[in-house]
Symmetry: C2
Subunit: 430 residues, 2 copies
């Protein structure tokens, strides 16, 4: 498809390029032009037969949000187990229910999450879940971009599977790719961690894991190894090729120095951290010492929604509360985390900004809504005041998957809802 979007306010998210009025062209799955409005006779316009020309009516076109940490198929557990501390929630509610999921269930439940990502302007997710093959199929069938990662632990996934998936989903041109990863320090033996490190070195690959989400997790690691999870990972050389830690709440200064040194991203998950009372991450300290921060929703069982607007407000709001300083972590920094930093954390360098040759993963933000008025500062409006209601269009890889409240993902939304409710009924009965 060749799509022209004109009469737009464009926020490319390139550094030092402020919002401007102009147009953007998509040819197949790439951006072919982004700049000022063109005259009718301009070469860029005359040479192309447009499948669609969209009048953006002054709305904002910007890169899609990147959900840099989630567990999509946990949609089945939304509003099922709540109001419990992390480890009780995980051991008593989540793990027993997850044991009942089939790979096919995970396919349908992942699709439900994809619908929600689209309503929130997310164009890619980073998904740690049990059966990568059906997670991948859900994304391919919807046309959504997903980076999967291993979730190896003592009782599920094997090293053979990890390597198999890593090789199978290695085409960087595909909508679905796979990264090395494990659930967490506290669910893996030392032997596992050493073998994971060897794997990272074998492929010179980045590594991904939950890190220092709860105080008890860090205390347990200190007891077991005499060091924090971050220091342990460093001692084992697990992040010698970068990657990311999810949550990273209870971190020492030395931990942050290690992340900085290894160029390991922090993916912060403030919605989940708030609801599980896990704590407030040291985002301002991280930024000050040069650690890169991206944002994730975590799974719908803990959050419970998949909404980048809520996460963005929480990132800035909790940072301000933590620092006792209303100037901590401002809107520009947060919007960068939700877009550019997210893409880089996930290993998607071609989805970070709007520029010629980049992949066409973008959204339209509706300014014709009361929460976006007046137009004092559009970035602040988006971060401090934005909501799912402002997402007018979500395009992934050059295809419009969501527009004016309608989904274009191959399967009717109502079918996906029905399937999710069917799965939940069965799980509760068995």
């Amino acid at each position: 498809m060749n799509i022209r979007i004109y009469n737009a306010r464009i926020l490319t998210m390139e550094e030092n390029r402020p919002l401007f009025e102009g147009e953007l062209h998509v040819r197949e799955n790439q951006i072919s032009y982004v700049g000022p409005e063109l005259h009718k006779e301009a070469k860029e316009l005359a040479d192309v037969s447009w499948d669609r020309e969209i009048d953006a009516q002054g709305n904002v076109i910007m890169p899609g949000f990147k959900n840099a940490h989630t567990h999509s198929a946990m949609t089945c557990l939304r509003s099922y187990a709540d109001d419990l501390p992390l480890l009780d929630w995980l051991n008593k509610q989540v793990f027993p229910m997850e044991a009942k999921l089939t790979p096919e269930d995970i396919y349908h439940l992942s699709k439900l999450a994809i619908l929600e990502y689209l309503t929130s302007g997310m164009t890619a997710n980073f998904d740690m879940y049990l059966t990568p093959d059906t997670v991948a199929q859900a994304s391919l069938d919807c046309g959504f971009r997903t980076v999967m990662c291993g979730g190896l632990n003592n009782f599920s996934q094997s090293f053979e599977e990890l390597e198999e998936w890593y090789r199978k989903y290695s085409d960087p041109e595909s909508l679905v790719t796979f990264r090395l990863g494990f659930h967490a320090e506290y669910t893996n033996s030392r032997e596992n961690l050493e073998k994971l490190s060897a794997l990272a070195h074998k492929y010179q690959a980045p590594m991904y894991t939950h890190n220092s989400e709860s105080r008890s997790e860090v205390e347990g690691c200190l007891e077991r190894y005499g060091m924090t999870p971050t220091a342990l990972f460093e001692a084992l050389g697990m992040f010698d090729f970068g990657g990311a830690g999810f949550h990273c709440i209870h971190m020492t200064d030395e931990d942050l120095d290690i992340l900085k040194k290894r160029n390991v991203y922090v993916v912060t998950n403030p919605g989940s951290n708030t609801k599980l009372a896990s704590g407030i991450a040291r985002i301002e300290d991280m930024l000050k010492c040069g650690v890169h921060v991206a944002i994730g929703t975590d799974g719908p069982a803990s959050n419970n929604c998949l909404d980048m607007f809520r996460e963005m407000f929480l990132v800035t709001g909790l940072a301000k509360l933590r620092a006792d300083d209303a100037s901590a972590v401002d809107a520009n920094q947060v919007l960068r985390m939700a877009t550019v930093e997210g893409a880089h954390a996930m290993g998607l360098p071609n989805c970070d900004v709007l520029a010629e040759g980049k992949l066409a993963d973008l959204i339209m933000i509706d300014l014709h809504q009361p929460n976006m008025q007046p137009l004092n500062n559009i970035t602040k409006n988006i971060v401090y005041s934005g909501s799912k209601q402002n997402v007018k269009l979500t395009m992934v890889n050059g295809r419009i998957l969501y527009e004016n409240g309608e989904f274009y993902v191959g399967t009717p939304a109502e079918e996906i809802y029905a399937k999710a409710n069917e799965i939940v009924s069965r799980m509760k009965k068995s």
Copy 2:
């Protein structure tokens, strides 16, 4: 208008009445039936000629949210002054800009806020602002329900005005009413506070004010009077007839006992408190000692949006973080604060629940959206996962003011946006 809404899930918010499937009738501005689906021949159906019969398609009908503390016309300052601590923000940015507002500006800017309230399912607001007459006119012209309150301080509003407005807007049947109120302890002389107390006693009326929003406010009061603002108000008899305190963050146990004793509501404003780094209110302690809590957005200059869904998640999330306990303040408690407690705090006893004879202030929550699926627990879905995108219909006083993204408030939304931008341009230039 006589309106029948059928095929609905109804959450009346009456105590001990769980969600049920049924229908609800509105005759003029009141609810005339709420109960199970009726047979075609039922008397309640046959006697009425319906102006509209609405198939709710299984969606939720519930009381509208009550925004129990706001400053609507501050929409002009949304995304204008951010990332500043409370007192700097107030003295350097807010007060100088507000000085430029005309009563007519306040009319238009209040309307912009009303549009946003409707998109968030709010059916009433409690509005402290400079010129009650034009605030009232905005609400009357839109058909929105507003309780105004005085904002007297050393440099604006007079006792004569306060009494005049109190008497002028005293009709409890009107969409607009007025309550006694003052800005805060720190912006009023002792003489003012004593005269306010006399006024409360003269009319045996509840009193409303900002209370203990920042640490420095409490410290200042301790220096001036040797007691906290709450203890001072009690010593002066200012809340002998109830009312509410907005924010109430830095409160002692003794302060909470006073609120309990005088049946003074706390209106919590977590969005604003987070963004201004004011602190986290002691909501769990308040509930435990029997203090009633309602929820407000505060004004759009500090929040910056007017979104009850964001506030509800923040109430529970921040309470969990503060208590270091994921079970603190659950979804049922929060939904009650946003509806029933809000109505009572504002003095709107006929807008609290859905029942025969109550005013028809209600909303329809769209469950046919991915963030509301699966239907494990609808209350939790609304509080933990809901968003403006789920508000399908907002009815105030029996009139539908918002439905499927369209406003029915007399003036086109685009005109209201244009007016707000015009006012802002003028303010910035002068």
